[in-house]
């Protein structure tokens, strides 16, 4: 159908904008440079002449990959709409034959694709580093970890794009960063925590556990670094479904918000 194709073309045109923006800002190169500065001394170490020790490098590298993916994902996604409004480029944009929903999807997809391309770069660097250190990782686990990470980026960018339509940019960044970091670190323990609380405080804890985005689902660093087998198919599919549903819900909300946005 022509309408669909046109729609897709417009969404992709909008998405390309975010990717071009990210890579022209050199945020990614700065991240890579920082990572290199952090990792070079680590790589140079030789512990007691024991060769082939790589897991600590793998762990630190993946940690950096995660931190940078969050920073870049949030940075890109959270500035999509505020930048349009601040510079008033939203007006010529809206005057073109695009639907608001297309703009929203384009912005989200742009943030996602921009971060995902940066992520590809990061994982390639990670693999090169492991090659250098003689690390033996299961390629299936790494591929899975990468895909899960992409799902994470999708959810994160959807969250930041939605947040940018309700909150001020700094509040949005704070909320999203805290939610992402908090859930990555404590998401798994939330249920246990809620179980141990007295009823009055357990209810909010359960609510957070039930509703907050469980970012820790997407974090397979442990499996990569410590040589565990890949996650089994049913669980992988469940995680993908979770990410897709959550993202879809956020985007539906964002669509509502954007259509109501005062201009």
């Amino acid at each position: 159908m022509n309408g669909m194709r046109g729609s897709l073309q417009r969404i992709m045109a909008l998405a390309r904008l975010a990717v071009v923006d990210l890579f022209r800002r050199r945020d990614v190169s700065v991240a890579l440079l920082l990572a290199a500065v952090a990792l070079l001394p680590l790589l140079a170490f030789n512990f007691f002449g024991v060769s082939g020790v790589w897991r600590y490098v793998g762990e630190v590298t993946l940690l950096l990959v995660w931190i940078f993916s969050i920073a870049i994902g949030l940075g890109v996604a959270a500035r999509q709409f505020p930048a349009e409004f601040d510079s008033r480029t939203i007006y010529p944009l809206l005057s073109k034959p695009v639907r608001r929903t297309e703009i929203l999807l384009g912005k989200f997809l742009g943030a996602f694709l921009a971060t995902a391309s940066a992520l590809c770069l990061f994982y390639v660097c990670f693999l090169l580093l492991l090659l250098l250190k003689g690390g033996g990782v299961d390629p299936v686990v790494v591929a899975q970890a990468f895909l899960f990470h992409l799902l994470f980026v999708m959810l994160l960018t959807a969250m930041a794009v939605t947040g940018s339509l309700i909150l001020t940019p700094s509040a949005n960044l704070t909320v999203c960063a805290l939610a992402a970091a908090g859930m990555l670190l404590f998401g798994e323990r939330l249920a246990g925590l809620a179980a141990g609380l007295p009823l009055a405080s357990a209810i909010p804890a359960w609510a957070v556990h039930a509703l907050a985005p469980h970012m820790e689902f997407f974090d397979l660093r442990l499996r990569v670094v410590h040589g565990w087998p890949p996650v089994e198919w049913p669980a992988s599919l469940a995680v993908a479904a979770y990410a897709l549903c959550y993202t879809a819900a956020l985007l539906l909300l964002a669509d509502r918000l954007f259509k109501r946005k005062k201009l």
Partner: protein
């Protein structure tokens, strides 16, 4: 536009760093497992930085423990179990050769809702490995070493890191010389530590012809000299250490022909533990031989 974006990114990184620090701080409720005795840090600066270093060092040591367990927090999260394993948790327990390591599944009971309905927790259990696993084989065991090195580098008074590190190097990775160098560094940094001296003695003892090396005897003698009950967390540990030193010394003296010295050690040992059968047997043998 441009400065905004950069600020945002910076803010994010800062926030993340802050929350990571906070998390690791909260996550390690156990506190510092490093070296509890350290009365020497007199001035405030040293005290403050000393504390920070201890925290970092303790965290790095925990990391080593984690690596030993395939990256998973061992079930020994609660204090009681930790106590049972002695200072330093499972890693130290393994280092001390105690194979018995009580393992429970760390499943948190989910009370109110119940595991059945808590989909997220069930999913988490499938995503994140929970089975208990111990590192085995050189390929895995050597991964522990960098963290022990780092723990010692972060806090040179973390005697546990030195001791356990030397153990891994010597026993599991076969690098006795590196281990001795490492423990030597530990002793230089902690000249009063009985444990490190004892550890060095054991390493020397295990070398080929180590039993005839006068350095071995010197190390155990130094350990005995440096032994004070205050160095240990628990009384029982202190006594255990002294017993072991005495037994090693008795063996070494006996081999070198120092029967009187050997008997002296054995008698002290028997005063501490009257029914210590190897000591009784050995003393009997020496006396039977007419010395």
């Amino acid at each position: 536009m441009r400065p905004n974006g950069t600020n945002g990114t910076l803010l994010c990184v800062a926030l993340l760093a802050a929350s990571a620090v906070l998390a690791s701080w909260l996550g390690r409720q156990g506190g510092v497992r490093g070296n509890p005795r350290d009365g020497r840090q007199a001035d405030v600066m040293a005290l403050v930085f000393g504390e920070a270093r201890k925290v970092v060092s303790g965290g790095l040591y925990d990391r080593a423990d984690l690596y030993f367990h395939g990256g998973i927090q061992a079930a020994a999260d609660n204090c009681a179990e930790q106590a049972a394993e002695g200072r330093g948790g499972a890693l130290a327990a393994a280092a001390a050769g105690s194979a018995a390591h009580a393992d429970e599944d760390g499943h948190a009971e989910t009370g109110l809702v119940g595991e059945r309905w808590d989909l997220w927790s069930r999913l988490n259990r499938r995503i994140h490995p929970t089975e208990d696993r111990h590192a085995s084989g050189v390929r895995e065991l050597k991964e522990v070493v960098p963290w022990l090195w780092a723990a010692a580098a972060a806090d040179p008074h973390n005697t546990l890191a030195y001791g356990v590190g030397a153990y891994w190097l010597a026993r599991e990775l076969g690098r006795v010389d590196e281990a001795l160098r490492f423990i030597g560094e530990g002793i230089r940094n902690n000249p009063d530590s009985c444990e490190l001296e004892f550890c060095r003695g054991e390493l020397l003892y295990l070398r080929p012809r180590g039993k005839r090396d006068p350095a071995t005897m010197k190390a155990f003698s130094a350990a005995l000299r440096k032994w004070t009950p205050e160095q240990f967390d628990r009384q029982e540990e202190a006594r255990m250490c002294r017993r072991n030193i005495l037994m090693y010394l008795a063996t070494l003296h006996e081999q070198a022909g120092g029967h009187e010295a050997a008997k002296k050690c054995l008698r002290e040992l028997l005063r501490m533990v009257p029914d210590h059968s190897p000591a009784i047997r050995m003393l009997g043998e020496i006396e039977a031989a007419g010395h």
